[in-house]
Symmetry: C2
């Protein structure tokens, strides 16, 4: 039969990344396309141990339903860590556990967005945030963004001239896809603009703990005096993504609404995962673990940046991320990175074309490079191949 889908389905397409990832699962492909953490760093032994302890000590509880809000000791730990690292002042009732921070994006759309509401975002921005919000029929306005973050005058101009702005979505630390980090000044200015215009900010921070150098900057939330900033976090990058445990933190009144929509969406997060992470945090030193991750990713970032400096000509620009998983490449304007991808796949190298990170289209000459998931020699080899493909392309076009 002809299915009559909801109107929102017209705008939804398969994620280009997921489609590319399917092609690149073959081990002979050097893939810069994913956003996967390095699996060799997962604390498998420790997880075996905490799993045994949790099941032996409170097996029936771990396998039963639990509250929508999530396991209280874990929410407490999250609140304390955010307060220490990000200058917030949360307690456990400010925190709702979510099925990965992706779910926190979806719930944000559900709580705040009516059809034709407007979401402001960086340009470019995280692809899966675009699809999460788009499912609620919103429009996107991309705020002009440079290496320091959204440009404040542009943000203010857009907020003043645009009706129905409901959310401002940002990733201030080691942004996906660009790897950029917002300056202190820009964080302050964003919070001020949001307070002035009474607009909610969704501050997504999956990579903040993965800083390779320099000093951590305070969150946008730390400059918020009226409860307009909601913070997203996750254990996917500092622990393991397979658990699907993230969170949203913010004003208690707003969090109560999130709890309501999560009840309807999926009742609660996986109980065992919550108890296991809490037990891990009790028994082990996660800072030591994160330091190991940082060390490995830092070396991979170093080799990525160094190789790009060696192999790319002066007409190719790229970011030098201070942390996170991604770097961003801008080719000469006449080169379309989707065409480059087809050629580079022939050479067994994959990446994600940058165009889809712009919700309203454009900048087809960009591409995203993930550097967290491959040994250094493969990174060098892959970037050398990629450079050859790009140079050939530049010559013939």
């Amino acid at each position: 039969m002809e299915f009559k889908y909801a109107r929102r389905m017209e705008h939804l397409q398969a994620s280009e990344i997921r489609e590319i990832l399917k092609v690149t699962e073959r081990p002979d492909i050097i893939s810069f396309a994913g956003g996967l953490p390095a699996p060799e760093l997962f604390p498998v032994e420790e997880i075996l141990n905490v799993n045994r302890i949790v099941l032996e000590e409170q097996g029936t509880r771990a396998l039963q339903y639990t509250t929508t809000e999530g396991y209280a000791p874990l929410r407490e730990w999250i609140a304390e860590r955010m307060n220490a690292r990000l200058g917030t002042s949360f307690d456990r009732d400010n925190i709702l556990l979510t099925h990965g921070s992706q779910q926190a994006l979806d719930l944000s759309g559900k709580v705040f967005l009516d059809e034709d509401d407007v979401v402001l975002c960086e340009s470019p921005t995280y692809l899966a945030a675009i699809s999460a919000f788009r499912a609620y029929g919103c429009k996107f306005v991309e705020v002009p963004t440079d290496n320091e973050g959204m440009i404040p005058d542009e943000l203010d101009r857009i907020l003043t001239s645009t009706d129905r702005v409901k959310l401002i979505y940002v990733i201030p630390d080691f942004q996906n896809p660009t790897g950029r980090t917002w300056s202190l000044e820009r964080r302050k200015r964003l919070a001020q603009a949001a307070m002035k215009h009474q607009v909610m900010v969704v501050e997504d921070n999956p990579y903040g703990e993965l800083r390779f150098e320099g000093k951590a900057l305070p969150s946008v939330k730390s400059f918020d005096d009226i409860g307009c900033v909601l913070c997203l976090g996750t254990f996917s990058k500092t622990f393991c993504p397979g658990y699907r445990i993230g969170w949203i933190a913010g004003d208690k009144k707003a969090i109560e609404k999130y709890v309501l929509v999560k009840q309807g969406a999926d009742l609660q997060c996986n109980t065992i995962a919550q108890l296991e992470i809490a037990k891990y945090l009790e028994l082990y030193d996660i800072d030591e673990h994160i330091e190991r991750i940082r060390e490995v990713y830092r070396r991979r970032r170093d080799v990525t940046v160094k190789t790009m400096e060696e192999v790319f000509g002066p007409d190719i620009e790229f970011t030098r991320p201070q942390g996170g998983l991604f770097a961003w490449i801008e080719l000469p304007e006449h080169i379309n990175s989707r065409d480059v991808l087809l050629k580079s796949l022939e050479k067994k190298v994959a990446f994600v074309p940058g165009g889809s990170f712009f919700p309203n289209g454009g900048k087809e000459n960009t591409l995203r490079i993930n550097f967290s998931n491959m040994p250094e020699d493969r990174i060098v080899e892959g970037l050398q191949s990629l450079a050859r493909v790009i140079n050939e392309w530049a010559d013939i076009s």
Copy 2:
């Protein structure tokens, strides 16, 4: 600040059940209010074993991201089991794993419902399905329902006279909240009506495996020749709810749309949970395990029905479920079960008032009894107390 929520938030309220459950967590309360499986039946030892094996054999894979569709061997197992039990003909590409079957309800709303679309449902129906669908701004029309299911002539009349019917939502086996099971004839007639009017059916089946007597009936899906029936299932009642692994099965074109919305909603289910359930199914006999659950619940059902027959007067009606977790009580019309609840909580007995299971309100004289989660002596004691409260109430009112 004053938060500007989406319009849908006006209709969402805290689930009455979850609020009552918070009160009834005290161990001195005899609670018929939840829908919890009996935790003493969870296969904790076996799960300890499969967890160890999965982490030792493929730890890094178990902790990493995976596909949105879910672990292929598990989807294959589900397809084969449904085909054997429910007369369907699915393969793994008909199946999407969801974060509990609750998520399959939410995704169904997202895939199919625009604001003011109509969902037909049994009267009464599952509370959390109401909140899942309501988040998409739909309206509900309750189809008159008797002990055999929706009344076909009424269904046909409503389908003929109502614009914008997008979904028909049903729980044909041991329904929540009533415990009723649809007859074979009614299943056929529902499928015929849906095909005739080209409307999608969401056939929710969380309890079907928990049949205490009699022969399993074919699914509504088995009478569907055009792909208009989607089937929901879950491991929550036959294995453990803490894992949050359910599924939706149906026409491949429709399932592809579900995959798209799940990508935006939360990327994927918990990876370890998927691998562990698959390993459990490989190493152990889940039929033996389900038979143990059935045996315990059957005895609890027996004692529940027998006690209700003894303690309730002739003006109180109740269902005698052939399976599942719930029975349904209908008091004389002038008694409001919310008032009864306040009194019975004083006697340390809790249940869920039936009113909220009617999406458009009404029938405040009904209540739902869960019998799966308590030893037999507590069931008897609780029902005796409840009967005393109701009789006192009937006397004074």
